[in-house]
C-alpha cells in the first residue's frame, strides 16, 4: 500500500519551548490513523504544522496524493496545502456562523472552481453551470452527512453534534485524499460518539479518503483506528495497532503516571 503522508523528524519550537520533538509519522492509503496523547502533548500543534498554520522549525512533511509523486509541503500556506489535498477540521468548531449550512459546504468547493470577478458580474453560461455544479455537489454531500434538511439554516443555529458533522462535510467538499480530524468527538454524548464512529468509517469507504484523527475518547480510537501514534511532551512514545498500544508500558506510564518505587 502506498504511503500518502510521510512526516520525518518534524520539530516545532516556540522560542525555547520544543512543542514537537523529532516526530515521525506515516499514513498509508485508506488507513484510519489516530494520534493520541495527554493534554498538551503537542497533538494540535502537530496538525497545525502539517496543515501550514505553523511553519515547522525542522523536519520534512511529504505528501503523495494517489497516482502522484511525493511532494514536500512544509512551509507552504494553509490554502495551498488544502489545494494539494489535505483537509482539516478544528478542535473548537470554526464554521462560518452567519452563512447557511449549504454555503458552508460550498465554500469548500472554492479551491476547485475558478469563477473570477468578471465572471461573477457577467454570469455567463459557464459560470452558471459551475455554480449549479457546486450547489448540487454540496447538496449531495449534505445528504451524505444527513444534514440536507438543514441546508438553509444558519450554521450557528445547528445543534452541536451537527456542527461537527458540517465541519467534516465542509472539509470533504475540498476534495481531499487525507482528512485530518481534530477531536471530532469532543463534547459529544456516548450515543453521538457511537454514530460518529460509524460515520467516519462510512466516509472512508464512500469518499475514498484516508483519515488522521486526534481524539481523547479511547473507545472511539480503539474501535476505528488501524494504527495509533502516541505522543507525550512532543515526543513520540509509541506506535502500533490498538491492541499493541493498549499493552504498551510507555503509554500506560504517560497516561496514568508510574510508581515512585519504579522510578
Amino acid at each position: 500500500m502506498q504511503t500518502i503522508l510521510d512526516v520525518k523528524q518534524l520539530t516545532m519550537d516556540f522560542g525555547g519551548l520544543r512543542a514537537i520533538d523529532h516526530v515521525d509519522l506515516d499514513i498509508k492509503q485508506g488507513e484510519i490513523v489516530a494520534l493520541i496523547g495527554p493534554n498538551g502533548a503537542g497533538k494540535t500543534t502537530f496538525f497545525n504544522c502539517i496543515t501550514g498554520i505553523y511553519k515547522p522549525t525542522g523536519g520534512d512533511v511529504f505528501i503523495a496524493p494517489p497516482d502522484e509523486k511525493p511532494k514536500r509541503i512544509n512551509g507552504k500556506k494553509p490554502n495551498q496545502i488544502t489545494v494539494a489535498g489535505l483537509a482539516r477540521t478544528f478542535q473548537n468548531i470554526r464554521l462560518f456562523a452567519n452563512m447557511t449550512v449549504l454555503e458552508n459546504v460550498m465554500i469548500g468547493q472554492h479551491c476547485r472552481t475558478h469563477t473570477g470577478i468578471l465572471g461573477s458580474i457577467f454570469k455567463g453560461k459557464g459560470v452558471r453551470a459551475e455554480e449549479r455544479r457546486v450547489i448540487d455537489y454540496s447538496h449531495m454531500l449534505l445528504k451524505k452527512v444527513g444534514l440536507d434538511q438543514y441546508a438553509h439554516y444558519l450554521a450557528k443555529n445547528l445543534p452541536y453534534a451537527n456542527q461537527r458533522r458540517l465541519e467534516i462535510a465542509r472539509a470533504l467538499a475540498t476534495d481531499p485524499f487525507l482528512l485530518l480530524l481534530d477531536e471530532p468527538a469532543a463534547g459529544m454524548n456516548p450515543q453521538e460518539t457511537l454514530e460518529l464512529d460509524q460515520f467516519i468509517t462510512q466516509i472512508r469507504e464512500e469518499e475514498n479518503v484516508s483519515i488522521l484523527l486526534i481524539e481523547h475518547d479511547m473507545r472511539l480510537v480503539m474501535s476505528i483506528s488501524d494504527r495509533i501514534f502516541v505522543v507525550d511532551y512532543g515526543k513520540k512514545i509509541a506506535q502500533g495497532t490498538p491492541a499493541e498500544i493498549q499493552n504498551n508500558e510507555n503509554v500506560i506510564k504517560a497516561y496514568l503516571g508510574e510508581d515512585i518505587d519504579d522510578a
Binding site: A87, E103, I107, H110, E131, H139, T174
Partner: protein, 388 residues
C-alpha cells in the same frame, strides 16, 4: 431633577436683582422624564421579549413580513418596480433643489454600497474610505485641468486609479485585522488629504480646483435645469449599475469567499481560499466605486478642494453601512437615503436638526444593533430528486 433644578426653575435677573421662580417648568420636566423613561423601558422590554422568543424556536426559519418582502419575488418585484418608477419621475415632480439633494443622496448610496463590500462583506474595517473618493475626484479635476479630458473618458480611469490605490493600501495591511487595520486605513485617508492639501504645484493646495466641466451629452449645450436633471439620471443609472454588480458579486464564488473571510479567517484559509487575493479584491473593488463617485462628485460640484474629503466623510459612509446592516444591499440604500435626506429635510427645525439626528442614531443602535435590515443569505434552490 434636583441637579437641574437651579437651571430649570430659577431665572435670575441680575439687573433688578430678583429671582423669578418657574414652577411650571419643573412640572413639565418631571412629566416629560417620566414618560420618556417609561417609553424607553417599554421598548427595551419588548426587545428583550422578542429576543427570548426567537431563541426558543431558533431552529425554525422565521418568515416575518421582511423576509417575505425580500425573498418572495411576488412581493419583491412590484416593490422594486414601484421604487424604480418613483425614482425616475422624481426630478419631474420636485424642484431642482430637491433633485440636487437626491443626487447627493444617490452618491452616498453608491459609496455606501462600495464600502459595504469592504466592511460589510469582507469584514475589513476601513476608516479611510474617503481617500478613494478623493482620488477619483482629483483624477478628474487634474486630468481635465492639465490635459482637457472629459467626464466620460475619466470615469473608468478614476475608478481604476482608486481601485489601484485600494490594492496599494491593501498590500501592507494584509496581516492586520480589526482595530489595527482601522488605524492604518485612517492614516491612509489622512495621507491622501494632506498630500492634496500640500502639493501646491499640482493640486493647488487648499484653494482647490474650480471650473470643472459637467458631463456633456453628445456635445449638447444645456441650461441649468437640464443639467441638474441630466446629472440626476447619470447618478441614478450608476446606482442601478452598482446595485446589480454588488448583488451579483455578493452571491458569487467571490462574495462567498469574502463572507467566509469575515466569519473566520483561519477556517477560511484552511478551506483553500487564498486570503491575500480575497482581501485585495475586496479592497480594490470597494475602492473602485468610491473613485467612480469621486469623478461624478467633481463634475457635479464643478469644484474640488481637500476639505470635501475629511475623516467626517469616511465616518458618514461607515455610518451608512453600519446603520443599514452589514452586508445588506437594501439596508445600505435605505440608510444612505435616511442619513443624507434627514438632515436636509430637518432644516425646518434648523437648530435642533443635528440633535434629532444624533438622537435617532443612538436609538437605532440601542434597538436594532444589527442595522435596519440584516443581511439575509440567499437560499439556493436544490434539485431534490437528483441522483449522483
Amino acid at each position: 431633577m434636583v441637579l437641574t433644578f437651579p437651571f430649570v426653575a430659577m431665572k435670575v435677573d441680575s439687573f433688578e436683582n430678583i429671582v423669578t421662580w418657574r414652577w411650571d417648568n419643573v412640572l413639565y420636566m418631571g412629566v416629560g422624564c417620566f414618560f420618556i423613561s417609561w417609553l424607553w423601558r417599554y421598548l427595551l422590554q419588548r426587545k428583550e421579549f422578542s429576543k427570548s422568543d426567537t431563541t426558543g424556536k431558533k431552529n425554525l426559519i422565521q418568515q416575518t413580513w421582511k423576509d417575505r418582502l425580500f425573498s418572495d419575488p411576488k412581493v419583491f418585484c412590484p416593490v422594486l418596480i414601484a421604487a424604480f418608477c418613483i425614482a425616475s419621475v422624481f426630478p419631474f415632480i420636485f424642484s431642482p433643489y430637491q433633485t440636487t439633494i437626491m443626487t447627493t443622496a444617490l452618491i452616498y448610496v453608491v459609496l455606501g454600497l462600495g464600502l459595504n463590500i469592504v466592511v460589510g462583506l469582507a469584514g475589513l474595517l476601513d476608516l479611510g474610505y474617503v481617500a478613494f473618493y478623493a482620488v477619483g475626484a482629483y483624477s478628474y479635476a487634474l486630468f481635465n485641468y492639465y490635459y482637457g479630458f472629459g467626464f466620460w473618458a475619466i470615469l473608468p480611469v478614476g475608478a481604476v486609479l482608486a481601485g489601484l490605490c485600494g490594492v496599494i493600501l491593501g498590500v501592507p495591511v494584509l496581516r492586520l485585522r480589526g482595530d489595527y487595520l482601522a488605524i492604518v486605513t485612517l492614516g491612509f485617508g489622512e495621507i491622501i488629504r494632506l498630500v492634496l492639501e500640500n502639493w501646491d504645484d499640482v493640486t493647488f493646495g487648499p484653494q482647490g480646483i474650480p471650473n470643472i466641466p459637467k458631463p456633456n451629452f453628445f456635445g449638447l449645450e444645456m441650461d441649468f435645469q437640464t443639467v441638474t436633471l441630466y446629472m440626476y439620471f447619470v447618478v441614478f443609472a450608476m446606482t442601478i449599475f452598482t446595485i446589480v454588480v454588488v448583488r451579483r458579486l455578493n452571491n458569487s464564488r467571490i462574495g462567498r469567499a469574502w463572507i467566509a473571510l469575515r466569519e473566520d479567517e483561519i477556517a477560511c484559509q484552511a478551506m483553500g481560499i487564498d486570503t491575500t487575493k480575497t482581501k485585495l479584491t475586496a479592497f480594490g473593488l470597494g475602492a473602485c466605486w468610491a473613485g467612480m463617485m469621486g469623478v461624478f462628485f467633481a463634475a457635479k460640484n464643478s469644484f474640488v478642494n481637500p476639505h470635501s474629503f475629511t475623516f467626517i466623510q469616511s465616518a458618514m459612509i461607515l455610518c451608512i453601512v453600519v446603520l443599514g446592516g452589514m452586508g445588506s444591499i437594501i439596508g445600505a440604500i435605505l440608510a444612505a437615503l435616511i442619513l443624507i435626506l434627514l438632515p436636509e429635510y430637518l432644516r425646518a427645525f434648523s437648530e435642533y436638526r443635528m440633535l434629532i439626528f444624533g438622537g435617532i442614531m443612538i436609538i437605532m443602535m440601542v434597538f436594532r444593533p444589527e442595522g435596519l435590515i440584516s443581511n439575509v443569505r440567499r437560499k439556493y434552490e436544490l434539485h431534490e430528486g437528483e441522483k449522483h
